[in-house]
């Protein structure tokens, strides 16, 4: 593999996971905060809130995972090497 290509692939892989983690991080924080607020206001609804929260957290996590898939394909299945 060309040195420039491998160097830029490694940088791009790091950036793609790092940048993809920003948005979902903020979103998950907001969602978890709101869920805690909801449970504090209505403790009897805890089970329902927990289920919905977990499901939506997984959706947000998927966005970071897309970045991870890009990073993995750059590292292990690079089309330009």
């Amino acid at each position: 593999m060309d040195a420039i290509i491998s160097a830029s692939s490694v940088i791009a892989a790091g950036l793609s996971v790092g940048l993809a983690a920003i948005g979902p991080g903020i979103g998950q924080g907001t969602a978890a905060g709101q869920a805690v607020e909801g449970i504090a206001r209505q403790p009897e609804a805890e089970n329902k809130i927990r289920g919905t929260l977990l499901l939506s957290l997984a959706f947000m996590e998927a966005l970071t995972i897309y970045g991870l898939v890009v990073a993995l394909s750059l590292l292990f299945a690079n089309p330009f090497s």
Partner: protein, 237 residues
């Protein structure tokens, strides 16, 4: 690519145990072996659960009834109490197969069995498995919509306004894409994190990550089946 520092653990991505069926047709053997194992497990659980059916469930029957009720809840929440029955087997099969695959990859020490090339792991960490599963979901929701509404099903592409037609068509492609990438990425990420950590610190430290992986992979199975049910519900509503 192949990284091996301590020879205690190693990270392998993209290495497969190929089976050559003909000159052009090759399959990934390690994926097939583990998925057959999971199929065997799921089938034998079902047979054990239905062998002696009694009015008051005991033992295996009790456990399997709990599982079926859990899946019924997933389907009922998305599809509503009137329509969920015909789609229950499909959603249940998806859930049980993916759950079995994820947990088989996480809980069984496949490293003890060495293959000539590649290694045994969860079948869902191969993109081919997840793409196949998500294309099945696509076909199913098209079938569900066409069966319920006939050709009128295609009217939903013009809703709410005809301007959104390209986006509505695009959605049919992004649904299987995101379904397959979500499952594939999560499972592969879990296994990679565990193996990189085992490479750095072989004892105790990887344990919490492994527990997190077991939890996350069960959630992924739940998400996949919930989304499949939601897509079907969207098509027949």
């Amino acid at each position: 690519m192949y990284i091996n520092t301590l020879s205690l653990a190693e990270v392998e991505v993209g290495k497969h145990f190929y089976w050559y069926l003909s000159d052009e047709l090759t399959v990934h053997g390690q994926v097939l072996i583990v998925s057959w194992f999971v199929l065997l497990l799921v089938i034998s659980f079902s047979i054990l659960g239905t062998q002696k059916i009694e009015q008051i469930p005991q033992g295996w029957q009790n456990f399997m009834e709990f599982v079926v009720e859990f899946i019924e809840d997933i389907a009922k929440n998305q599809l509503g109490p009137t329509y969920y029955k015909p789609w229950l087997p499909f959603i249940g099969t998806l859930f049980l197969f993916i759950f079995g695959c994820n947990w088989a990859g996480a809980l069984i020490p496949w490293k003890l069995i060495t293959l000539p090339e590649g290694e045994l792991a969860a079948p869902t960490n191969d993109i081919n498995t997840t793409v196949a599963l998500s294309l099945l979901v696509s076909l199913t929701y098209f079938y569900a919509g066409l069966q319920k509404k006939g050709l009128g099903y295609f009217k939903r592409y013009l809703e709410p306004t005809p301007v959104l037609l390209p986006i509505n068509i695009l959605e049919d492609f992004t649904k299987p894409l995101s379904l397959s990438f979500r499952l594939f990425g999560n499972i592969l990420a879990d296994e990679l994190t565990v193996s990189v950590l085992t490479m750095l610190v072989p004892l105790i430290i990887p344990l919490p990550i492994m527990v997190l992986g077991v939890f996350a992979s069960s959630i992924q199975a739940l998400i996949f089946s919930t989304l499949a049910a939601a897509y079907i519900a969207e098509a027949i509503e």
